[in-house]
């Protein structure tokens, strides 16, 4: 495994990719999948993350097997749907490999947690946040149904009102998706926390720098603009 030449803080990448993955997994929009792959590929290229032969082999073989199993095991999975699932799996695999190649600022997380605990109570805040992230991933199939329902509702309303709609209508699913995730994640987090899961294992360290702050701010501004202004 080769380390990155110019490491970016993994928390930044996690934020960007996590948002992307929610969108990717929760929808059946091919252009979003394409965008996600471009982002993943861009990050890999930008930070000179080289993958071993085994990892590259896994990236190709894993999704292929997934698609094959989907076709064989499930009568309702037609050919394109199975390929689509394979693509999802491939992106998740890609993301996990990128994260393994990068390093996380454990000291910073501990410091932040210490401060937050002091002001907000005894719970491990970062642990809670990562739990929610985990849970959103866990409930991706449900979110996907939500996105599908919203898209159907938007289509129905457009057809009933008698117009073709705008391109941004395709992003309408974001609001309910985010709101439902927020509403549900707290409850689900409690249940998983009660089962003993703790976010203690954090990959290795690199310092948070001003560039990370700017990228974080920019990615969230873009997200909020998309959500609030365009949609």
């Amino acid at each position: 495994m080769e380390s990155s030449a110019a490491p970016i803080n993994p928390l930044v990448i996690l934020q960007i990719l996590f948002l992307g993955l929610i969108i990717l997994f929760a929808t059946n929009e091919a252009w979003l999948a394409g965008a996600e792959i471009v982002i993943l590929f861009g990050i890999q290229y930008r930070y000179h993350i080289r993958m071993t032969r085994t990892e590259l082999f896994g990236l190709i073989l894993g999704p292929g097997l997934w698609a094959l199993l989907a076709i064989v095991n499930h009568q309702d999975h037609n050919f394109s749907r199975a390929l689509w699932d394979g693509l999802h799996f491939g992106c998740a695999l890609w993301l996990s490999i990128l994260i393994v190649h990068l390093s996380a600022p454990r000291e910073m997380i501990h410091q932040v947690e210490k401060v937050l605990k002091k002001w907000l109570g005894p719970r491990a805040i970062i642990g809670q946040i990562s739990l929610m992230a985990l849970l959103v991933m866990r409930y991706i199939p449900e979110l996907r149904i939500t996105a599908k329902r919203v898209t159907t509702d938007v289509r129905m309303r457009r057809q009933l009102a008698g117009h073709k709609g705008y391109w941004k209508d395709r992003l309408r699913f974001l609001t309910p998706l985010v709101m439902i995730s927020i509403l549900r994640s707290e409850l689900i987090a409690e249940s998983i926390w009660a089962r003993g899961w703790r976010a203690q294992i954090v990959p290795v360290v690199s310092k948070w720098n001003p560039r990370d702050t700017w990228i974080t701010i920019a990615s969230w501004v873009v997200f909020l603009l998309t959500w609030k202004v365009l949609i």
Binding site: R157, L160, P176
Partner: protein, 256 residues
């Protein structure tokens, strides 16, 4: 042949639909046990669910108020939620404005007009979605568990609105709220393993299929009907009417 479904089996619920043709207009219930495929049947009608075998013909403007109103709220205010689909329409059109005002008044959304739909209660969210589809005026309206979250007043209002729409469109309603359904709806389709191709009297469906009673009166009524007592299928939904029928029955028994 506006809506026709033939030889379709739905995934997961395995609901079979050998033949189902939508009635032209009117109010119909779609009833059956949990997980029998009622909501899936709706998703087939609003074309979210695609099937690989069988025939599905839908040539109508279909609208649906789904089970979870959260799936239908995409805007930051109630006003936008109702109006976004009509962006191209001239807001100065007085008839249009009148219609919007009428609908806002019907669903009492005036005080919520500039609020975020996400700050509302479940019943209020449902009213927002109902109002949106009231404005969109579809030819076929599908309501999936519409009484969930609505209080007694709004259940009655919804009933009144549905009755007023009976002759102008086809409305299909999924509900487990038997007293509410029986209080205004004549017929429905039973959905369990197979979807009935023709509508049957809802009172009979209640008697033949619903196993566990929700109230002592419902249990008593089922018992009376099982003993072939001359009482109506819907007598139990109104306590006063039930009492009248029982007294009448009691008098008959005494005179025999």
């Amino acid at each position: 042949m506006a809506i026709l479904i033939e030889n379709v089996t739905l995934p997961f619920s395995e609901l079979r639909i050998p033949f189902w043709q939508a009635p032209e207009k009117g109010l119909y219930g779609v009833v059956g046990p949990n997980g029998s495929g009622k909501s899936q049947f709706f998703s087939l009608l609003y074309q979210e669910l695609k099937v690989r075998h069988g025939t599905v013909v839908i040539n109508e403007r279909v609208g649906c108020v789904m089970q979870h109103p959260e799936h239908q709220l995409t805007e930051s205010t109630v006003a936008n939620e109702l109006l976004w689909a009509f962006r191209g329409k001239k807001q100065s059109d007085s008839r249009w404005q009148q219609r919007v005002d009428q609908i806002v008044a019907r669903w009492q959304l005036g005080s919520l007009w500039n609020q975020s739909p996400w700050t509302l209660s479940t019943g209020q969210k449902r009213r927002v979605v109902l109002a949106a589809y009231d404005l969109l005026n579809p030819d076929v309206l599908l309501l999936d568990e519409p009484t969930e979250g609505l209080d007694g007043f709004w259940r009655e209002e919804l009933k009144r609105w549905l009755i007023s729409q009976e002759l102008s469109r086809l409305t299909l309603v999924i509900s487990h709220d038997w007293p509410w359904l029986l209080s205004f709806m004549e017929t429905g389709f039973w959905c369990e393993k197979t979807l009935d191709s023709s509508a049957t009297d809802l009172g009979k469906l209640w008697h033949h299929h619903t196993l566990s009673a929700q109230s002592p009166l419902e249990e008593l009524w089922r018992d009376l009907l099982n003993r072939n007592a001359p009482v109506s299928f819907r007598g139990w939904i109104d306590a006063e009417r039930a009492l009248q029928q029982v007294v009448k029955l009691w008098n008959q028994v005494r005179h025999q």
